[in-house]
């Protein structure tokens, strides 16, 4: 007692009794590092979440990629832009939905809740996981696009800015929906119909696996409700030349609308998370 309570003038006496708890940032960073490590150790997540978009891009691009969509634009470039959106959805929405559902079922969340860990630290760890994986994912897909399909990095500051905000808003929106949907599966084995399947369908109708102008209009309307369609459209505005805008359903990039839809999903996703997040497995009190 004497050794710790002397020499710190101005310290409230309560400090001598209650040692300071480790801060949320420090523990959050530790958790983030381990989350990333665990993600890349798990074969399932590396293959089906991280590598799948790149594999599909190479496959689909090799089959359809060199057809000219409009003058100066290849289908390969359109696929790359869409697949980057799909990749963001995979490493944010799908990744968080699956891992949090599994953590809840294993009781990891319950155990964490029984420790003095600040809840914020858990989410800081997840934010680090998502951004580390998603940035790596986007870099890999851009590299594949540049190597195989004449994709070019943005040349103007305005396009880099669009890339940055589509990336950030898209990642945050998909992450929040992923955290929210993780409460839905009654067990981790039910994750496929609840998380993987809808995401797969959405990728088909949102311009990820099939160019959006080939999707039937009624499916386009459904896709327009969800963020993925807007993310892939925003990314096409970054990576495709201006004349490709004529292929869009509105014959324009509609970046303002993209930002609005993504922002609305962030607000809705946050409300969903705050109202539905559970630390305990379903049926456990």
């Amino acid at each position: 007692m004497t050794a710790t309570s002397v020499s710190r003038p101005g310290t409230p006496p309560a400090d001598a009794v209650l040692p300071r708890l480790p801060g949320a940032w420090r523990t959050g960073l530790v958790r983030g590092r381990l989350e990333v490590r665990a993600f890349f150790r798990e074969r399932q997540s590396v293959v089906f979440v991280f590598a799948l978009p790149a594999i599909l891009l190479v496959l689909l691009g090799s089959i359809f990629g060199h057809d000219a969509a409009v003058r100066g634009v290849t289908v390969g470039q359109i696929f790359t832009a869409g697949m980057i959106a799909g990749g963001i959805g995979a490493t944010s929405f799908q990744n968080l939905g699956l891992t949090i559902a599994a953590e809840r079922e294993r009781g990891t969340l319950k155990r964490l809740r029984g420790t003095p860990l600040a809840p914020a630290a858990y989410f800081i760890g997840k934010i680090i996981l998502v951004f580390a994986c998603t940035i790596a994912e986007v870099v890999v897909l851009i590299a594949v696009g540049m190597a195989f399909y004449h994709l070019h990095l943005p040349t103007s500051a305005a396009k880099w800015w669009t890339l940055a905000w589509v990336f950030v808003l898209g990642t945050v929106a998909c992450s929040l929906i992923g955290i929210g949907i993780s409460s839905l599966p009654s067990s981790a084995t039910n994750s496929f119909p609840v998380i993987t399947l809808p995401f797969l369908v959405l990728q088909f109708i949102s311009g990820v696996y099939v160019p959006f102008n080939n999707v039937p209009p009624w499916l386009q309307h459904i896709a327009a409700v969800f963020p993925l369609k807007w993310m892939s459209q925003g990314l096409r505005s970054v990576f495709l030349p201006a004349q490709a805008a004529t292929l869009e359903s509105g014959h324009a990039w509609q970046n303002g609308q993209t930002a609005l839809v993504l922002a609305a999903w962030i607000v809705g996703g946050l409300v969903l998370c705050l109202t539905t997040f559970r630390w305990r497995p379903r049926g456990d009190g």
């Binding site: 209650l18 040692p19 300071r20 708890l21 480790p22 420090r26 523990t27 530790v30 958790r31 381990l34 490590r37 665990a38 993600f39 150790r41 798990e42 294993r106 009781g107 990891t108 319950k110 155990r111 809740r113 029984g114 420790t115 003095p116 860990l117 600040a118 305990r280 009190g285």
Partner: protein, 281 residues
């Protein structure tokens, strides 16, 4: 120090729908005590413990754990308790990574490598969760529960699935923690465990405490009739008696020396327990 109350419960009630799971429980557990909750499945043990841990909300009664109401106690309170949960380990993280990470949540944790050694996972620090056997996972659960140097440790059915040797080692660990002054509340189905570890036990049945006391005296164990049995010329004979010494002396005289197959027994904790939970139903 040892007379201060670690856990005080008065009139605790909790129901799930129509079912009354906990029906007016009172408990006082002193600091430094090892206390066991016994009872069959559905007696309300886990519900009671989870209310004390802050995981569940109660419907009625008052609860103070380390001087605070678990229903609204904060992170500082959680830093003083340890909860051992039986869970599937994180598949991709190693024993050392898990224990070190959990140590980092607490203000004055134990040394992670000492804790790993203490629970008997010393040679397995680099083993990942999905490579651990069931018994090794239970040891990791214990390590994560004690690495924060808790004043009060909750153990819910801690040795389920342990082999006898692992159970002995675990008991030694609990005795060591208790000798360092840790208050321990454990629930168990396994009566020899309560007898070996706990200073006092409470028997729950249908959400009520039906008996409370030291394992040796529970349910009037020491004062109940003893059973004397022996091999009589016409077969084995058994006698219930309040005065076993007298009976044995008479038998000794009758047989003029060794009484064949002589056995004198008191009701075991299990006998008393079965009687109690039968009575409570």
């Amino acid at each position: 120090m040892s007379n201060e109350t670690a856990i005080q419960v008065r009139g605790l009630c909790k129901s799930y729908g129509e079912t009354l799971a906990v029906d007016g429980i009172d408990l006082d557990i002193s600091q430094g005590e090892v206390f066991a909750l016994l009872g069959p499945n559905g007696a309300g043990k886990t519900t009671t413990v989870e209310i004390l841990e802050g995981y569940r909300h109660r419907d009625g009664g008052t609860v103070a754990v380390l001087g605070q109401d678990p229903a609204n106690a904060g992170r500082n309170w959680r830093a003083r308790i340890g909860i051992v949960l039986q869970l599937t380990a994180e598949p991709e993280l190693t024993v050392a990574e898990m224990v070190t990470m959990y140590a980092g949540f607490y203000p004055k944790p134990r040394d992670p490598s000492e804790v790993i050694e203490l629970v008997g996972l010393g040679g397995l620090t680099a083993r990942r969760g999905n490579q651990l056997s069931g018994g090794q996972r239970r040891r990791l659960d214990v390590a994560l529960g004690i690495v924060g140097r808790p004043e009060l440790l909750f153990l819910d059915e801690p040795t389920t699935g342990f082999d006898p040797e692992a159970r002995r080692q675990f008991w030694e660990l609990i005795e060591q923690l208790a000798s360092e002054g840790t208050t321990i509340l454990l629930t168990t189905h396994y009566l020899p465990e309560a007898e070996a570890l706990a200073g006092r036990v409470a028997v729950l049945a249908s959400g009520k405490v039906v008996a409370l006391g030291a394992p040796a005296t529970l349910g009037g164990r020491v004062t109940q009739d003893a059973q004397v049995s022996w091999e009589a010329p016409d077969g084995r004979r058994t006698l219930q008696t309040a005065t076993p010494t007298k009976v044995v002396a008479e038998l000794a005289a009758q047989f003029a020396g060794e009484v064949p197959g002589l056995a004198v027994s008191r009701p075991s904790l299990e006998d008393v327990y079965l009687e109690l939970i039968g009575a409570g139903r």
